[in-house]
């Protein structure tokens, strides 16, 4: 099932790349709505975390991805993907609201959101609300998540 899923994604990516290669014009922007694209990627990111979908996280995260978890723990891509796909760590419900694109250029986007988490992973109880900054960078024509920083909001 996973192979079929990856194959489908790969075929779609190749097809999309081919169409676009034909449409490229030097020095011309294609009118991409960066804000909308990264807002959707924000949801893809959280869906992957919620569903223990390590493949999607691996697809989304840049090689040099970095995230600061609540409590100040720094993790790299490998560590973050391993955490996401580890079903033994337990399930967490994640929802993001108030997505604000703070900066958008043809190859960089920075957004903030309010992420609500319910649940524990391993010995860490992540339940609470967080102000999150997410950074996206376009690499080789594809948007990737470059990193995220989280700050826990006070309990109300």
């Amino acid at each position: 099932m996973k192979h079929a899923y990856c194959l489908s994604v790969t075929i779609l990516l190749i097809a999309a790349s081919g169409v676009v290669a034909l449409a490229q014009a030097p020095g011309r922007m294609a009118g991409e709505d960066v804000a909308t694209t990264v807002s959707i990627l924000d949801h893809v990111w959280l869906d992957a975390a919620h569903n223990h979908d390590g493949e999607t996280a691996d697809w989304l995260f840049a090689h040099d991805f970095v995230e600061i978890h609540p409590g100040g723990v720094l993790v790299n891509k490998r560590q973050q993907v391993d955490m996401i796909k580890d079903t033994k760590l337990g399930d967490i419900a994640i929802q993001s609201t108030d997505i604000q694109v703070r900066y958008a250029s043809p190859d960089v986007a920075v957004l903030t959101d309010t992420t609500t988490i319910r649940g524990t992973q391993g010995e860490s109880n992540y339940s609470g609300q967080y102000r999150v900054m997410r950074v996206f960078a376009k690499q080789n024509g594809r948007w990737r998540a470059a990193g995220a920083g989280l700050a826990r909001l006070p309990t109300q």
Binding site: T37, V44, V66, I68, G71, V108, M133, A146
Partner: protein, 155 residues
């Protein structure tokens, strides 16, 4: 769950079409950036109140997220630093500065120790792991975001 993910990915791929249609910006030789010096200059300016530098160094998109989640825009934060409620920073020391560069954006992480107090005398010091985002605009690196996180391993 799989059908939902595939649906989401399909939407993303649709959006990726115009993304692929873009031309890459012309490559320019990467000038060496002294990221650690930038980080220290930034924090020194916050400590000494060098508002002229910060005004130029902060991109208009700058947003600061404090450890308690309070969020400030460039205008709001500079307004605080200029006003009577500005915090007093006695010392601010970044250590273990690490750089993750992705073309025109770089993420700097560091461990910053702060000693100081707010305008009412409340302690604002502590040890923080900090997530800093700088972007390249018109050839100049500028700060666009900060998220501070208390280093709970030190408590």
């Amino acid at each position: 769950m799989r059908p939902i993910q595939l649906g989401t990915l399909a939407m993303v791929l649709c959006l990726a079409v115009p993304a692929f249609a873009q031309t890459k910006s012309p490559g320019t030789p990467a000038a060496a950036v002294d990221w650690k010096a930038m980080d220290r200059k930034w924090l020194d300016s916050e400590k000494t109140g060098d508002l002229n530098y910060l005004e130029k160094f902060f991109a208009d998109s700058y947003v600061l997220v404090l450890a308690n989640g309070e969020t400030y825009t460039k205008k709001e934060w500079l307004g605080i630093l200029k006003g009577p409620d500005r915090p007093t920073i006695l010392s601010i020391n970044p250590e273990n500065i690490q750089v993750h560069q992705f073309g025109n954006v770089a993420i700097l992480t560091d461990h910053t120790t702060i000693q100081g107090h707010d305008s009412k005398g409340n302690n604002i010091g502590g040890e923080f792991n900090v997530f800093r985002v700088v972007i390249k605009q018109d050839g100049i690196w500028k700060a666009t975001g900060v998220v501070m996180n208390p280093d709970l391993s030190k408590k």
